[in-house]
Symmetry: C2
Subunit: 209 residues, 2 copies
């Protein structure tokens, strides 16, 4: 199986649209996040090396480094979402005829459900980081590329809100309620104030267009 | 040059991140919209043909047809954004030494600017349509796929808000102020109430998770 990042965009979209469960919203979320990170990098690359923006050169270099690391992580999460979903489905497919089998199956499902919660949570974390970087790009990057910073923030926001849904689902299926509550509370902390932040960055972009 | 939809995702992201002006936020917006349309189709495809959802079968078939047409249009807009930007840049590169040359150059720029306004406006229209379809998918589609409907609405929203920025920029550079105001007023009408609609759909998704 070709890793998804090496597939043509058209193939990815065709498979996303199909009745096959993967790729689904989780992979799309990671791709949105990766697009957001790429667009932050674009703004940095159109700012760095230009005498006019010498004052923010060092900061843009730092933002670029972070954005590229996040892009790499988020691109990997497109595939990771598929892999963990397939692992989960393989556990649901385990036999459940005897009580022993039921217990083994349930334990296996619960174990993978923790990973299936962790993967979209990583996507949420990375998207929040991309949003913060896009704020710097929008405020200090080359104004010729400010609309790209605006697209960056919206892409990362889409990735964040979409992957949050998968955290809710998978955490909700966990029997370890303490662990689940811990993850849900981590998520709430991460997304608190994000709607307002997005609006602020978008308005900054509009005033610099 | 390979049409962008036939490029691997990794190549697209690398080019998006680079200092090259294309692909940029406009292409990313169209890809977000196309992902949204694909995810609506996915929900339909996971609903259609299942006896449990026979009541909404006809409606889901209709939604699927519309979503697939929008996906095709939005996938084309990934490339169209690049093409119109390159055409615009070629007009800016025209000689401007004499008054005659200046007049020819300016007229050529203004002509292409109308197309450069129309392309992201098509993306806004298509994304609004995807959002409306995602509402039906979220409300009536197979609940097992409701998080995919949630990702659909967020992807289309990202595409809409990102492409709107390119309408603002290009309409703002038009000398034909009547035409520009007409386009900006069309845009305002399209996006009016969308923030509220997105919140409502997202909440619907959360309650059906």
């Amino acid at each position: 199986m070709t890793e998804i990042k090496n597939q043509p965009i058209q193939t990815f979209l065709d498979e996303l649209a199909s009745k096959s469960a993967t790729p689904g919203g989780g992979s799309a979320a990671a791709l949105m996040g990766a697009q957001g990170a790429a667009l932050v990098s674009m703004v940095c690359n159109l700012t760095i090396g230009k005498p006019k923006f010498a004052e923010v050169e060092a900061e843009m270099q730092e933002v670029l480094g972070k954005a590229e690391a996040l892009r790499s992580q988020l691109t990997g999460l497109i595939q990771a979402d598929i892999d963990v979903f397939n692992r989960l489905m393989s556990k649901y497919a385990l036999p459940k005829d005897s009580d022993d089998e039921k217990a083994i199956r349930s334990a296996a499902i619960q174990e993978v459900l923790k990973d299936a919660t962790a993967v979209p949570m990583q996507c949420v974390h990375a998207c929040v980081d991309v949003i913060r970087l896009s704020k710097v790009a929008a405020e200090k990057g080359n104004p010729s590329a400010v609309s790209d910073a605006g697209a960056a923030v919206m892409a990362a926001y889409g990735g964040l809100k979409s992957s949050a849904l998968n955290v809710y689902i998978n955490a909700g299926s966990l029997k370890d309620k303490v662990y689940a509550e811990d993850k849900l509370s981590e998520l709430e902390q991460l997304i608190e104030g994000v709607d307002k932040l997005i609006d602020d960055i978008y308005q900054t972009v509009k005033t610099r267009l």
